[in-house]
Amino acid sequence: MRTVNQRGWFFVLPVLILVAFNALMPIMTVVNYSVQETFGNNVFFWQGLDWFEQILRSDRFQAALGRQFLFTAIILAIEVPLGIVIALSMPRKGIWVPVCLVLMALPMLIPWNVVGQMWNIFTLPKVGMLGYFMNDVLGVNYDMTQDPLAAWITVVVMDVWHWTSLVVLLAYAGLVSIPDAYYHAAKIDGASSWSVFRYIQLPKMKTVLTIAILLRFIDSFNIYTEPFTLTGGGPGNSTTLLSIDLVKIALGQFDLGPAAAMSLIYFAITLMVSWLFYTLMTKDDAG
């Protein structure tokens, strides 16, 4: 195993300096703002924890937080099982494997606002492919600039389109690491395909699936650019997720105090959930 060697710090130093520059100073700025009030002119007044109280009590924040949790829960509930099913039905070897993998990874390599813009045009009534099919072929009245439900479904479908492949690729990596002998033994033991999944494939995918869920949780919780370019948070506030609301307050209204307090609460929630996952993961490494 690893040896005790304080020289490790020396190796970590460049990373430490770089990340500290990027992380510590901005966080300090945010903390600073979060406890002060300003009316411009660089004059600040001590405000204590008032902003935090105000944010936590505000209906607007609670609504955004609720939408955020709902969104994350929905996309996890769709993307994780779907990703597993797709990974299970993919070929394990042959020339189609790299082709599948490259095509599947493609959506993840498109700049996020291009993703949003693409889906925006895609859903335009008449002009866009989806809008055209929904309205003119299927006769469903579909316009996400008017209908909050349509906007929600579109944001979720876009995220499924954008990120399910991450779960697929992770699950697939876990699957290909299973030696053939396991499948042979299961066949000989007369195991059903459900048993094979439950007792062989799922245990082997556990680590990678934890990573997948962790990454999907974090990224969906922090999502900003794609839904913002797609719907702008509307109609109304119906698709205003946490980040969108935060940017509205900070850069739109320049309410630095509340925005900073909100940032810290937001960050704390992300951190807490991620820490939970992290301990679960490293517990396995040690045991």
């Binding site: 030696p179 002998a181 033994a185 066949k187 000989i188 048993s195």
Partner: protein
Amino acid sequence: MARITLSKLRHSYYPDPKGPDDYALKEIDVTWRNGGAYALLGPSGCGKSTLLNIISGLLTPSEGRVLFDDNDVTDLPPDRRNIAQVFQFPVIYDTMTVRQNLAFPLKNRGVDEARIAERVAEIAEMLEVVPMLDTKAANLSPDNKQKISMGRGLVRDDVNVVMFDEPLTVIDPHLKWKLRSKLKELHQRVRATMIYVTHDQTEALTFADEVVVMQEGEVVQIGTPVELFERPQHTFVGHFIGSPGMNILPCEAAGDRARFQGHEIALEGPVTGSGGTTVLGIRPEYVGIGDTGIPAQVTKVSDVGRHYVIDAQVGDMTLKAVSEEAVPEKGASVHLAFRPEQTRVYRDGWIATEARR
């Protein structure tokens, strides 16, 4: 338990094989009796794993039939053949306990709970794993994991054949002999037909009543360990089995005499056939060192424990002899005597002398 018959079996991984080289398994025709212990022995890539997979049903042969007793199982899937297999790397269900692992094959077949408990207890006792029944299988040592994967096969009382695919590969050397004798003991207790695949001659010869030696997809000899040693049917068997292997020396042969480096040598019997490349085959154990015979020069003497291995040069050929007594020094001139009843001629690899009656 069943008698296993492999009838005119051939297998190729190509969809339409052109010549014999396209076959991973060349024709094999053999019957194994019920309750016997057999070994498939050969270097890696010789086709023994292909043969094993055909018997277990993971592969369907290109040609030929597989019979268990009188039932044709060639097209049956593995789970309907009632077989058990122990793999090179221990295959266990990590998330289950040892008990659940052992019960798994029975559960899948809908055996009732009481019967399962009874069988699991029985097998656990036989394998000496009773104290670990309730531990997670993932936490076991490799040799215990192998025992459990064997147990999953033995737990079914209708098992036709138990197959071992190099089961000792990942076992620590000092535990190898222990597990090996456990296997032998189990065979005597359950009397199931067992097939043991390995590239290690010691494992094969100690485990099996009968050994199938394979090379490049071809069965070169089937016989008891003694037969393989005493009368190899092919130079490959002579060379592969025994330590050191058989001396193989280019010669010319006619009648019951062979000519090697200008010396006339008596054979076990008259030479059959004609043409091809002929070689003389004699095991080092049957090369005597004395005052009469073929003159040779000792080039090397190695002490391998129980006996000495002597390299001796005759003309431009080197051959090996085994001696248990005091040996000549390096560089000494000696005379070599070949035991006629153990001296044979091989033509294109295959034996070409008649046995002495």
